[in-house]
């Protein structure tokens, strides 16, 4: 039985973040379906916003889980979130009715997370009270974030869209599997972008001076930063105009959250010194 070392004091309760996270992520992923309705790719940026929403929720789940000494380090939580999420996400993209894919991903991920949580607590004997719920939530976050990245980079979250790309040769456009989200293995980049972005905020803000608003602002910053580079990668797979819309939104979001995060850190820091020596502490 591990001991809970920190408690969440004040701030928004976890359940509120959970509900807001699920709803806003699903809404944003469904909004990328406007691409199909309007036969364009300009709504792909909603995929990036889904990633931001999912990661904000996921990083708070990591805070809840890692407040117990889990003994494997904070980054491991990000890896298991996306490791379990990628299975659910890939399976869900195969459903015939594309509109069901995000919900199927959510349900499949929750089942995988539940099993993993049960195995961790009962077979590996970790016996951490928050483990089952946290791993379930994180698998869902992983699956929906990857779906968001897929929609941001390719404009769709259907399996055929993720495995087929185009290549121009002598003015003729040919279909290819090599130049696609899965064929080019951009999913590996999306995996790590998400896995590091979800664990970094708690890893960077842990300690006695942890504050919820600072950590969640950092999550949004990490997510928008991931969105910037994902939008650059999307230039290869969707129209330049649509990719630029995502890029501009990502840059604006990142610049704002980075500035806010620095301001919150300045608020929480003991002092903010420039080229000053180490202060004298009594006894040392």
């Amino acid at each position: 039985m591990s001991v809970k070392v920190e408690v969440i004091e004040g701030g928004v309760p976890h359940n509120t973040i959970l509900i807001a996270g699920v709803v806003s992520t699903l809404v944003c992923i469904y909004l990328t379906y406007l691409n199909v309705v309007t036969q364009t790719e300009m709504f792909s940026f909603f995929g990036g916003l889904a990633v931001v929403a999912a990661l904000v929720w996921g990083s708070h789940t990591i805070k809840v889980l890692c407040s117990y000494g889990i003994g494997t380090g904070v980054p491991s939580a990000g890896m298991i979130a996306f490791g379990s999420g990628v299975i659910a996400m890939l399976l869900a993209t195969r459903v015939t009715n594309l509109l069901l894919a995000p919900v199927v991903a959510l349900i499949l991920a929750a089942i995988i997370g539940l099993i993993l949580g049960w195995v961790s607590n009962n077979v590996l004997n970790m016996k951490i009270p928050a483990m089952v719920q946290a791993l379930t939530e994180m698998a869902v976050v992983g699956a929906l974030s990857l779906m968001g990245f897929a929609a941001l980079i390719t404009g769709t979250f259907g399996f055929s869209g993720l495995t087929t790309g185009t290549v121009s040769m002598f003015g003729i456009t040919l279909l290819t599997h090599t130049n696609s989200f899965l064929g080019g293995c951009l999913i590996a980049v999306a995996f790590l972008l998400g896995a590091i972005a979800i664990q970094h905020p708690f890893n960077a803000c842990l300690g006695p001076g942890w504050t919820q608003d600072r950590m969640l602002m950092l999550t949004a910053e990490c997510a928008f930063l991931s969105m910037i580079v994902a939008a650059i990668m999307s230039l290869a797979l969707i129209s330049a105009g649509s990719a630029l819309i995502s890029l501009v939104i990502a840059i604006i979001g990142w610049a704002f959250t980075y500035k806010e995060y620095m301001a919150l850190s300045k608020r929480d820091a003991h002092s903010w010194l420039d080229s000053k020596p180490i202060p004298d502490v009594e006894g040392h």
Binding site: P75, V167, A188, G207, V229, K276
Partner: protein, 298 residues
């Protein structure tokens, strides 16, 4: 025969790139106090030892470098898919990956230090500015060399994996090599120069890392300068050997029979196990366990 000679040439080039990457990676992570030495940098202010050491633990080195190299490779792949020249694509990809690394480094330092406010540890803006840029420069070299060697493996040696996946695999290998080989030199040696050699780190000395330099106060560039000499080079040789031997056995023996490459791999592991064991036993015999100095008979 010709393609084997060509393959060995590419292998040598990839090994050389890996050596540079390993060396730069270790120096970068030491300047950022990443990896296992980080715990002492994080602990020091809590024990009352305020310091001017950079603390930018984003994650362990393997996942962090997995991301930087995978991202560099993914962006390079995207630029190449847009018909960019390969050299330009790799450089641009690595520039953006280094930008991401730099942003993560600043938020990690500011966040960790702000959470230590209770112990009076200040955030040093000059440290943030000067150390981040130095780590970014080293990270760029490490990422660029790794992505280039992945591109060589992919195009010149005809590896079936796409570039981003190779970037992920070799990025994790690079971080693991730097973490396992180079870190002890910083964490066990440099941070504890004030302790008796071979004494280990007694509980009473926990967090009491060296904070003052030959002149003035020590910062992380001093640590990078120190570890670049042996820790960085050792990491470079480690990663260079991993890449070189891995590709060499595949290029030379796979052409004869794919099973031979696997058998040679197993034999190499056995040889290295014997060498490692010999060095360990020799070091224990020569330096021995630490014993407290005996009182002089009076």
């Amino acid at each position: 025969m010709e393609h084997i000679v060509f393959g060995i040439g590419i292998t040598a080039l990839a090994g050389a790139l890996a050596t540079v990457a390993g060396s730069a990676e270790d120096t970068e992570s030491n300047i950022g106090s990443q990896g296992d030495p980080n715990s002492q940098v994080q602990l020091a202010p809590q024990m009352g030892f305020l310091h001017r050491i950079f603390n930018k633990a984003v994650a362990g080195e393997p996942p962090a470098y997995g991301l930087w190299c995978c991202l560099g490779a993914g962006l390079a792949w995207a630029f190449m898919a847009m018909q960019f020249n390969a050299v330009l694509a790799i450089v641009l990809g690595c520039v953006f990956a280094t930008f991401v690394q730099g942003v993560y480094a600043t938020t990690a330092y500011v966040g960790r230090t702000a959470s230590l406010a209770k112990f009076g540890q200040p955030v040093y803006v000059d440290i943030l500015k000067s150390m981040t840029t130095v780590t970014m420069a080293h990270a760029f070299i490490a990422i660029f060399c790794t992505v280039t060697l992945c591109h060589l493996i992919n195009t010149a040696l005809g590896h079936p994996f796409p570039l981003p996946l190779l970037g992920l695999i070799w990025g994790i290998a690079l971080g693991a090599a730097g973490s396992a080989t180079g870190n002890p030199y910083y964490g066990k040696e440099r941070q504890y120069q004030n302790q008796k050699f071979g004494a280990g780190v007694p509980i009473s000395a926990s967090g009491n890392i060296v904070r003052y330099a030959e002149a003035g106060e020590r910062n992380s560039i001093d640590n990078g300068w120190f570890t670049a000499k042996i820790g960085g080079s050792a990491s470079g040789i480690c990663f260079g050997l991993i890449v070189f031997l891995e590709l060499w056995r595949t290029v030379v023996f796979e052409a004869i029979n794919p099973w031979y490459a696997i058998i040679v791999g197993v034999i190499m592991i056995l040889i290295f196990t014997v060498i490692d064991r010999y060095i360990e036993v020799w070091a224990r015999k020569t330096y021995g366990p630490y014993t407290a100095p005996k009182e002089a008979d009076a």
